[in-house]
């Protein structure tokens, strides 16, 4: 049996006289759903439309990717972001494009599209073609775009967390005013790199926001089977930084939280944000999802961030059904075009295998 801190300090609910006690009052910010509106965020109707379009683009892009995976156009692992789109899009509306940086793990298609990478370069990368965002060298888990401030796409759980601190360190060192946002899964919290890095970030006052996308599972392991303290945002306490909890099914809550935390980062205060979300698909394409019930999945589908925004738009009379339908058609057409583009893009020539290992052009590889 494990004793909570409180129980250790008390006896039958009364302070245990044989011990002195230390009391710590902890306060965290909470950003629940349905708390913020486009008006409170100062978003124009047009911007709300863009947000909706962007989330929908991620959804349709990935649905199409799943199909293409089935047709063996895509190899390797394919981890879909479906259900989590409010996080990528919501935070893209909290950063300064062209200045700020972002980095994530292998579930990276959504963030790439939110940062403005094109469907074409993303689909071509999935297909392993030369026109892919990583020239066919990275695949699904390793999307990069220096131009868009997308520092990857990283396949080793937790390995990108220190890298994010370094990206932020460089922003600070150069005094360019930039901030780095680092996304990680609930499963990555138990990599040592997370703890080493949060401490470093706090010590050095780095302009970084760590965002735990708590989608409830690390592959088949539910959070409470891997984590003793299931409020992941409380990890901030050990590293003397602010922490928040956010409803990740509401894009406005995400956007507000990320704006607040990005502001802190810009002032040299790193922080931790736990965003609770849900992935509707399996961990990757091979996962039948036997570790969760149908009922749980169906219940979560009622919170779908895209449907939620759609009904908000209709309720608030921001756009007509017809206008939304037009958007839908546009997005479908964009995704369909990306499949054609990817299919027509050539495979990388064999001699490309030696490119991009080193910056040195004439490295004498053993052959």
């Amino acid at each position: 049996m494990s004793l909570k801190a409180q129980e250790v300090a008390t006896q039958n609910g009364q302070p245990d006289a044989s011990y002195d006690t230390i009391e710590a009052k902890l306060t965290f910010r909470h950003y629940p759903g349905d708390r913020f509106s486009h008006e409170s965020l100062g978003l124009s109707v047009e911007e709300v439309g863009d947000i909706y379009r962007n989330m929908l683009l991620q959804r349709r892009f990935e649905e199409r990717s799943a199909q293409m995976y089935g047709r063996q156009k895509i190899g390797g692992f394919l981890h879909l972001y479906i259900g989590q789109e409010a996080i990528s899009t919501g935070s893209a509306y909290a950063i300064k494009p062209g200045l700020d940086s972002a980095i994530t793990a292998y579930r990276d298609h959504g963030l790439a599209l939110a940062l403005g990478m094109t469907s074409n370069e993303c689909m071509a990368e999935l297909f392993g073609r030369v026109d892919g965002c990583s020239k066919g060298k990275g695949g699904s888990m390793h999307f990069f775009s220096k131009e868009k401030g997308m520092f990857g796409g990283h396949g080793i759980v937790g390995a990108h967390i220190p890298v994010a601190a370094g990206i932020a360190f460089a922003h600070m060192y150069k005094s360019d005013g930039g901030v780095c946002i680092c996304y990680l899964g609930d499963g990555a919290v138990w990599q040592g790199s997370f703890h080493e890095t949060l401490n470093l970030a706090s010590l050095y006052g780095l302009p970084v926001v760590y965002v735990i996308e708590n989608n409830q599972y690390a592959m088949g392991t539910a959070v409470d089977r891997a984590t003793a303290e299931t409020d992941l945002f409380k990890q901030c306490v050990s590293y003397a930084m602010p922490g928040s909890l956010v409803d990740g099914m509401d894009v406005f809550s995400v956007c507000q939280a990320m704006r607040d935390h990005v502001d802190m980062a810009r002032e040299g205060q790193p922080s931790l944000v736990e965003i609770r979300t849900y992935r509707y698909r399996g961990h990757s394409m091979s996962d039948p999802g036997k570790y969760r019930t149908k009922e749980e999945l169906e219940a979560k589908k009622n919170e779908d961030p895209i449907l939620r925004l759609k009904s908000y738009i209709i309720q608030e009379n921001l756009m007509s059904n017809e206008a939304l339908d037009v958007l839908d058609m546009e997005v479908k057409a964009e995704v369909a075009a990306s499949v054609t583009f990817a299919d027509e893009s050539p495979f990388p020539p064999l001699e490309d295998i030696y490119d991009h290992v080193y910056t040195q052009e004439d490295f004498p590889f053993l052959t």
Binding site: K137, G138, H142, P162, G166, Y173, D355, V357, Y358
Partner: protein
């Protein structure tokens, strides 16, 4: 020329480069306030300030990765490991990130970073503190690996490593930090990466050795000289990329070769050198390539065992006589 200790030559290289380029910074355990665990960075914090000479907690994985992110975003970090033994907890950052992200990004990001620190045997510290890592890191395309044997090479090669736009694993030695040697005072003294040094010319046998093993090679060459034979001694200096041209030309001349390598023997630098020599100069060989390495065991503690564990000049000398069929 100026006489410097190895640690001073390394420091001089860092100081000169940091004076030249503001984007270079030094980070590691005890590098700033304590002036370096082995006093390599002595005085550097006073010169460059806390912004550029930065102490870390004992978080190798964390600060190695931090260096990589800084490199991706335009800086040129020098990351000091107190010793390379402690970099094993950061190996994911070096092997998966430093070596591979450039490739996986289709060449969008580069990693102008140096990871440096002492490598290999350091006395009676037992197995965890006596690892030679050059064979390991040389396995990974994307990394460059330099291992220096003297102050002059240390200065010229570290300056090159700092200027290089690819990640460099730079291997020093606790045993040699206090070693003195003449160091060029030429302005901007640069030794190119990937070029071996022929330290001593000869025609009887080629002996190849880097870092401390270079000195064993040289001692063996002196013993052979007493026997009336001139050994050619080559310090490869860079392990990856390796200067095959210099080694193969030498073997074609001497027809015999002994490799001295402080790594454990299996799949080591010496294995690769022996393979390449047989592939490229088979018809020139008058004897199989021999090698003297650390024993195929973890490093022991007891003084006698540790001496037995490491390559000795006597071992190298005997191997040379063997390939010359003298005994």
């Amino acid at each position: 020329m100026a006489e410097l200790q190895l640690r001073e030559a390394i420091r001089a290289a860092m100081v000169e480069e940091m004076d030249r380029d503001e984007n270079i910074f030094l980070m590691g355990e005890e590098v700033a306030e304590y002036n370096g665990a082995y006093k390599v960075s002595e005085g550097m914090r006073d010169r460059f300030g806390d912004q550029r000479v930065i102490d870390t907690p004992i978080s190798e994985n964390g600060f190695a990765g931090l260096g990589l992110g800084a490199a991706m975003n335009g800086l040129r970090p020098i990351i000091e490991f107190m010793t390379w033994n402690f970099a094993f907890v950061a190996i994911d950052q070096i092997v998966n990130n430093a070596a591979k992200i450039r490739y996986m990004s289709g060449g969008q990001f580069s990693f102008p970073i140096v990871f440096r620190g002492p490598n290999g045997a350091a006395g009676q510290l037992a197995a965890t503190h006596n690892t030679s890592v050059e064979s390991l890191y040389s396995c990974f395309p994307g990394l460059k690996v330099i291992s220096v044997s003297n102050p002059d090479d240390a200065k010229g090669l570290l300056k090159s490593a700092i200027r290089d736009n690819d990640p460099v694993v730079f291997l020093e030695s606790e045993f040699m930090y206090g070693m003195r040697g003449q160091v060029s005072e030429a302005e901007d003294y640069i030794i190119p990466i990937g070029k071996a040094r022929i330290a001593r010319e000869g025609d009887a046998v080629t002996i190849i050795g880097h870092n401390k093993s270079y000195w064993r090679a040289l001692e063996a060459a002196e013993m052979l000289e007493a026997d009336g034979y001139a050994a050619e001694v080559i310090d490869p200096r860079t392990i990856r990329p390796f200067d095959w041209d210099t080694v193969i030309a030498s073997v074609k001349k001497t027809n015999r070769c002994v490799v001295v390598d402080e790594s454990n023997p299996f799949a080591s630098v010496s294995s690769e050198i022996a393979f390449q020599i047989q592939a490229r100069a088979f018809d020139y060989l008058d004897a199989p390539v021999h090698r003297i390495t650390a024993k195929d065991t973890p490093a022991p503690y007891a003084k006698n065992l540790m001496e037995y564990y490491l390559p000795s000049a006597e071992d190298v000398y005997r191997a040379c006589r063997a390939v010359m069929y003298l005994d």
